[in-house]
Symmetry: C2
Subunit: 149 residues, 2 copies
DNA sequence: TACCAATAGTTAGTATGACAAATATAAAAA
DNA sequence: TTTTTATATTTGTCATACTAACTATTGGTA
């Protein structure tokens, strides 16, 4: 039975995901990027889609609402993002990159692509396709299962 | 240039790793396992290697020392693990599973293998080999890079 | 012996992640 | 119109991750 073997995927996955984040975070720090890896993900998505609500953004980046609230708090404090009251719905905000935020995204984008490339040394486009297929399959297998007992 | 494409691996990886942990944690909670996913990883490794020091265990599970200190604190509080003073080195401890800890490992092991299988539906042994190869390559590419600027 | 660098572990601070519960507002139903 | 239900966001709590700094101890060396 290969049950035991398969069971290791969770360990390998977790270990590698942490390493990837750790490596990037270290480069971010060395380069004085002034944002964390997760804050960058949020900034990048805001630069590609303006006037999102927090809920819309949360769905894009796959983070839950409390986490996103806190990340946005920090980005606002740093002056990269603003919460603009939604004109029709007083419960929600429209998120806006400030000038400083836009400048930050432009400045960091190429550097971050370069950092991200490092992990992919010795791997091919085909590897990427396989990797993506497997990750997506795992995600699908586990998604929406919570709630049915 | 496929740079932008490759850059997505970090997002996919992080997203999937979180989903895997979240799914398992939910099952742990439903089954009243009384441990978290990370606590389980530590317990399992202790059951396979007794009398480890915290440093040795940290290397096995790829967690840093402060994180491990806290996980072990919690496992001690729950009565599953004991810190025994090292006979030759008063700085360090030997970690020991209690009877209750051993019983917990035996009880949970089969249930957790079952939970872990869910993610692997629609995927093959060959997929697993590919997956492992790619994850390990990424890990190697980024390991030991921290420190050289 | 006295100093000093290395090692084992802990503590503190900040960020993220998950979950539950609370608040405010909006929309639907009675 | 009042009540109910749903939605958007925030707050609180606990666990994990990473960094830096700290304590205690060990081992080497002058």
């Amino acid at each position: 039975m290969t049950q035991e073997l398969f069971a290791k995927y969770s360990f390998l996955l977790d270990r590698t995901a942490r390493k990837v984040k750790q490596y990037a975070q270290h480069q971010f720090k060395t380069g004085e990027f002034d944002v964390t890896v997760d804050q960058w993900l949020v900034l990048k998505n805001l630069s590609e889609n303006e006037l999102l609500s927090q809920t819309e953004l949360a769905n894009l980046v796959f983070k839950d609402h409390p986490t996103l609230t806190r990340i946005i708090d920090l980005l606002c404090k740093k002056g990269y993002v603003e919460r603009v009251p939604h004109p029709q719905d007083r419960r929600s905000f429209q998120l806006l990159l400030t000038e400083s935020g836009s400048a930050k995204v432009s400045a960091l984008k190429p550097k971050i692509l370069e950092i991200r490339e490092k992990a992919w040394e010795n791997l091919t486009t085909r590897d990427f396709e396989e990797f993506k297929r497997i990750l997506d399959t795992i995600y699908q297998n586990l998604d929406c299962q919570i709630g049915e007992e």
